[in-house]
């Protein structure tokens, strides 16, 4: 039994939670609790590398998007030299919100309160009544927008609010082997099909992050209609097959679902398969060719899914990729962002078909997404019940799974796909941040 936060003291509580995860249990209340939410804001989202944007969202000089890290509104902009900058969306003079559009193109941002003007890189360049008012006492270079450290991998732009945090490369580690499945599907990489669907949902980001860290267990039930009517090319009898891959000490994880009768690279057009075979390493090709579903969470709150969906029952269907960000907006609320990524140099008809399959399954009206959110908002409501304040959930599936020694990819690889190993790893890393040991 987890001790109560207030009785035990926060630090002791968190250490006991961390120990509990190793033993295969995790507290129900973590999925809807103000105190835990506040700790996540202070200790996790202000220290981890957090996703901001995909480079294809801001391809031209001046392009920008507004995103969040924790409760901070961030302008992510490409400057006139093509360099991407991220800055807090707050005027340094009196704190007004600088930019109110969520995407656009601008060389400069001008505050609508007193008129301070910044370059899109964040540099302060214009101050009204500079001579008359400030009489030479204000040095522009001291009052740039508050800068966010950024780095990129495979077109993904990340920001980190902690100047002491290790590099993004260190943060991602060998997880990039699997990220490439989503990000390097063609010789020119991938691009967003358009801006993301975004909506508010009364659920906790962790429920979504866990689900996408490889919850193959829910699929035959939560998405039973797809199996039942034959639009999703898996069957209940074989659905547990595949691998769960986690990265100890990093939190990242991927579930790789395998169907015995699903063709290698099924759901992709032939010319794209040829490109992928040139782009990927032989080990990546070997892993990828066996995968029907690849579902991953990049710690803490960015997820990816690649899966097929058929418009005709019983056929392999079309493979699509979605990327999703769970932006926490309270202990029981989040802003959901959902993108579709398409291979840049794929045939246009494949891109359109993949997008159609994506919208039928995911995004706010997606049939799989609808059923997920139905379950997730109910989990969130239940997690507030007074009766469960001291209860844990079982995370003991695959407690004794042995590492698969022959698997060609990196990470801690276990079988079967249906497994809690990835989730224990995810919540261990979460607890490391909350305890303050990262």
């Amino acid at each position: 039994m987890s001790p109560r936060v207030l009785e035990a003291g926060t630090e002791e509580y968190l250490r006991k939670v961390r120990e509990g995860i190793r033993q295969g249990r995790f507290p129900v209340r973590a999925f809807n609790d103000q105190e835990i939410y506040d700790l996540e804001q202070e200790r996790l989202f202000s220290r981890a590398w957090c996703f901001l944007a995909h480079e294809s969202e801001i391809p031209a000089p001046g392009d920008y998007v507004l995103r969040y890290i924790g409760n901070n509104s961030i302008i992510v902009a490409r400057d006139e030299h093509g360099v991407v900058h991220a800055n807090l969306n707050m005027c340094r003079h009196r704190g007004n919100q600088m930019c109110k559009a969520e995407m656009g193109n601008a060389s400069h941002f001008r505050c609508s309160y007193h008129g301070w003007v910044y370059k899109n890189s964040g540099e302060l360049v214009g101050v009204p009544y500079m001579k008359e008012g400030y009489e030479g006492r204000l040095d522009r270079k001291d009052w740039s927008l508050v800068r966010v450290r950024t780095d990129t991998y495979g077109g993904l732009i990340f920001g980190c609010l902690d100047p002491q945090a290790p590099s993004l490369a260190d943060y991602l580690g060998d997880f990039t082997f699997y990220l490439d499945f989503y990000l390097k599907q063609s010789e020119d990489g991938v691009e967003v099909y358009g801006p993301p669907d975004h909506w508010i949902a009364d659920t906790n980001w962790k429920i979504c992050a866990e689900n996408f860290a490889g919850d193959g267990y829910h699929t035959p039930v939560a998405h039973q209609w797809g199996f039942h009517l034959g639009y999703f090319p898996s069957s209940g009898a074989t659905h547990s097959q595949g691998w769960a891959v986690s990265f100890p000490g990093k939190g990242h994880a991927i579930g790789l679902g395998h169907s015995p009768n699903f063709p290698p690279f099924g759901g992709f057009p032939d010319e794209l398969i040829e490109q992928m075979k040139r782009v990927f390493t032989p080990a990546q090709v070997e892993v990828f060719s066996k995968v029907r579903t690849a579902v991953a969470t990049l710690f803490p709150n960015l997820s990816f899914l690649m899966q097929p969906l058929s418009f005709v029952p019983g056929e392999p269907g079309v493979r699509f990729v979605t990327m999703r960000l769970y932006h926490p907006a309270g202990p029981g609320q989040m802003k959901m962002y959902s993108w579709c990524l398409v291979p840049k140099s794929a045939p246009e008809d494949y891109k359109a078909a993949a997008y159609k399959a994506y919208t039928l399954a995911f995004g706010q009206a997606g049939t799989f997404e609808q059923d997920d959110f139905e379950n997730w908002i109910k989990v969130t409501q239940m997690a507030k019940s007074t009766m469960v304040r001291d209860l844990d959930f079982p995370y003991i599936m695959g407690m004794n799974s042995q590492r698969d020694p022959d698997f060609p990819g990196p990470g801690h690889v276990v079988r079967p796909y249906v497994n809690d190993t990835n989730f224990r790893n995810l919540w261990s890393r979460w607890a490391d941040y909350l305890v303050g040991e990262v």
Binding site: E102, H198, Q370, F373, E374
Partner: protein, 171 residues
């Protein structure tokens, strides 16, 4: 457009068609609704993005919340008819309020461009908070063998950050 007026009888018929179509949705007669669509029907709900006033677009030219054809709408309806459409168990209670219907001619004799405002109230279970969707629609309706059919639905939601956990209903 605008030079040729649509006669009152046609406008009244098209309004009546839209009301009957909304009634089919609100009464959850989804097969009846499917019968009101032409075989080449497209159903689009663009993603809205908050932009500056002078921006080229606010409704994405590529991103869609729904990007459907009659074929994919039938998949959605087959799902709703199964025992496993969890997001619609219990079913949404919807009410489509269709107003401000404006009918314009197109260059085809039997096709009309129909703009309308739609306010959708959706209640589920014992949740006292309904989902409210304010929607601008630009439809194409076509007369096929003497019957009105919907050939295109284009529906844009006024919220950009949509305050509903899903869109398990039709707009």
């Amino acid at each position: 457009m605008g030079t040729r007026r649509v006669d009152r009888e046609t406008v009244a018929e098209i309004q009546d068609f839209l009301y009957r179509e909304a009634l089919a949705l609100d009464e959850r007669r989804f097969r009846d609704w499917l019968d009101l669509l032409t075989d080449d029907m497209t159903y689009e709900v663009p993603v809205r993005v908050t932009r500056e006033g002078l921006a080229e677009w606010e409704l994405s030219p590529t991103a869609r919340i729904f990007d459907d054809t009659k074929e994919t709408l039938e998949i959605r309806i087959r799902r709703l008819e199964s025992d496993f459409a969890w997001s619609e168990q219990p079913p949404s209670r919807t009410r489509h309020y269709v107003t401000n219907v404006v009918v314009d001619p197109t260059d085809k004799d039997d096709e009309y461009l129909v703009s309308s405002n739609v306010f959708i109230y959706r209640s589920r279970g014992d949740d006292p908070e309904p989902s409210l969707y304010s929607v601008a629609r630009k439809d194409t309706v076509r007369r096929v063998n003497g019957e009105w059919k919907l050939a295109r639905r284009w529906a844009a939601i006024d919220q950009s950050m949509i305050n509903a956990h899903n869109l398990s209903v039709f707009l």
